[in-house]
């Protein structure tokens, strides 16, 4: 209700030239000026994902099916961190105006390499967590952020640069969940070799 229009408004306020302290007619602005935007993007991505009902559903199911090996909260945390990183990088892409295509290819390559090394049991769940993160709660906020950014930054066209944040938010959780499982595996191996 009033939560989402507010998020929308904040995204716009954070990207106005007045807030950034730059002259409105500037045509070239260094990407370092947008620090608060990246931080806001990461925080809002993390917070909305933690509250995402579809992710909760999948996490509950995963905990039941795995017999508690995969904790519902740990999974949600891993996914939220992934979304936070993804959206922050996505806003960076909009600010610098680089090609969406390259980032996505690089992400795919990382996912494929991780898949080869990750425990088999987590792969399906990790791939699924990419798709579930972005629904009712996250999409409207993130879309508003992307379009708001692309329309206030000089030289960006909302038509070409405004979309794509959701794509980042669906790709990065896969990487973070696979990484989470690898770290868990490595730690359990490490401790068992010591004992």
């Amino acid at each position: 209700m009033a939560l989402f229009p507010l998020g929308d408004l904040m995204a716009k306020q954070l990207t106005t030239p007045e807030f950034l302290g730059i002259p409105a007619e500037a045509t070239e602005i260094s990407w370092t000026k947008y620090g608060w935007v990246y931080l806001f993007a990461a925080c809002i991505g993390f917070a909305t994902t933690l509250a995402e009902p579809s992710l909760l559903a999948v996490a509950i199911k995963a905990e039941t099916v795995s017999g508690g090996t995969i904790g519902a909260f740990g999974l949600r945390l891993a996914v939220s961190v992934g979304v936070a990183l993804g959206i922050a990088l996505g806003t960076f892409r909009i600010v610098t105006g680089s090609e969406l295509y390259y980032y996505i290819i690089a992400g795919y390559v990382v996912v494929l390499i991780q898949t080869a090394y990750a425990p088999k049991i987590i792969v399906g769940l990790a791939y699924d967590s990419g798709g579930v993160t972005t629904s009712t709660v996250t999409v409207p906020l993130v879309t508003a952020l992307g379009i708001g950014l692309a329309s206030t930054i000089p030289g960006r066209n909302p038509l070409f640069d405004g979309f794509g944040l959701i794509a980042f938010a669906s790709l990065f959780p896969i990487i973070s969940v696979l990484a989470y499982s690898q770290i868990a595996l490595w730690r359990s191996k490490h401790s068992s070799s010591h004992s």
Partner: protein, 244 residues
């Protein structure tokens, strides 16, 4: 049983905790970074109460309705053994839940406006509505197709990453040929399609099938339906952009 131990009340509490980070981010940024007062504080509180209630009711509904429906259907189909009907059902489930998806309708309308501004289609209402409808149909078709192939994968026991790698390859091959305006929308539409109702139903269906079929592990084979359903729309939407 005391009031605070009641499951519904406990769930209310944990729903509030789930939402607390959003509130924290909004309040901290509004006060310390943007330095503006929070507009409509009353509405914000009301909205938060509604969202907490809604989330609580949703979780109750999940355990009572959506999970059992998905699983019992999976068992019934596995028992009957008719692969053709199961695949038909899987397609209809994917198509039906996606074509009416509110997030998708919003994105399709937005895309039609953009296409009209970019002079891809004429700016009259009819052309826009036609474009948006075409977009929604291609996404719905792609999700139906994905769930169908995904179910076939569970039956046959193919490894998930083969499907995903094929999907990625298709995305990469088709991107250079797609019109520039549609690429962002196409990549986003993958994430938008799988909604709050579709996800629990499809997840329960996949896990139910993997549990019911001999030789399948629900953890390894049961997940993955959503993943494929978020990948195919990218390909189908770009194809739609090329073909029209």
């Amino acid at each position: 049983m005391s009031f605070f131990k009641h499951p519904f009340v406990k769930q209310l509490g944990s729903s509030f905790l789930d939402l607390a980070p959003i509130l924290a981010v909004v309040i901290v940024f509004q006060i310390w970074v943007i330095k503006q007062p929070i507009p409509d504080l009353g509405n914000l509180i009301m909205g938060t109460v509604f969202v907490v209630l809604g989330l609580t009711l949703f979780i109750q509904g999940l355990e009572l309705g959506l999970f059992p429906i998905g699983e019992s259907m999976a068992y019934a189909f596995a028992k009957k053994g008719s692969v053709a009907w199961l695949l038909t059902f899987a397609f209809c489930l994917g198509f039906g839940t996606t074509v009416a998806e509110p997030a998708l309708i919003a994105v399709a309308n937005e895309a039609a406006n953009i296409a009209a501004k970019g002079k891809l289609i004429s700016a009259d209402l009819q052309a826009k509505a036609g474009y948006a409808m075409g977009l929604r149909l291609s996404v719905a078709l792609s999700v139906g197709f994905a769930i169908m192939v995904g179910v076939l994968r569970i039956i046959k026991g193919w490894p998930l990453h083969y499907l995903i790698i094929c999907g990625y390859a298709a995305v990469l091959i088709i991107t250079p040929f797609a019109p520039k305006e549609i690429i962002g929308i196409a990549y986003d539409s993958g994430g938008v399609t799988t909604s709050t109702i579709t996800v629990p139903l499809v997840t329960a269906l996949g896990i139910g099938l993997a549990t019911a079929i001999k030789g399948r592990n629900p953890m390894i084979d049961g997940f993955g339906l959503i993943a494929f359903a978020s990948l195919t729309p990218i390909v189908f939407v770009m194809a739609y952009g090329i073909l029209r």
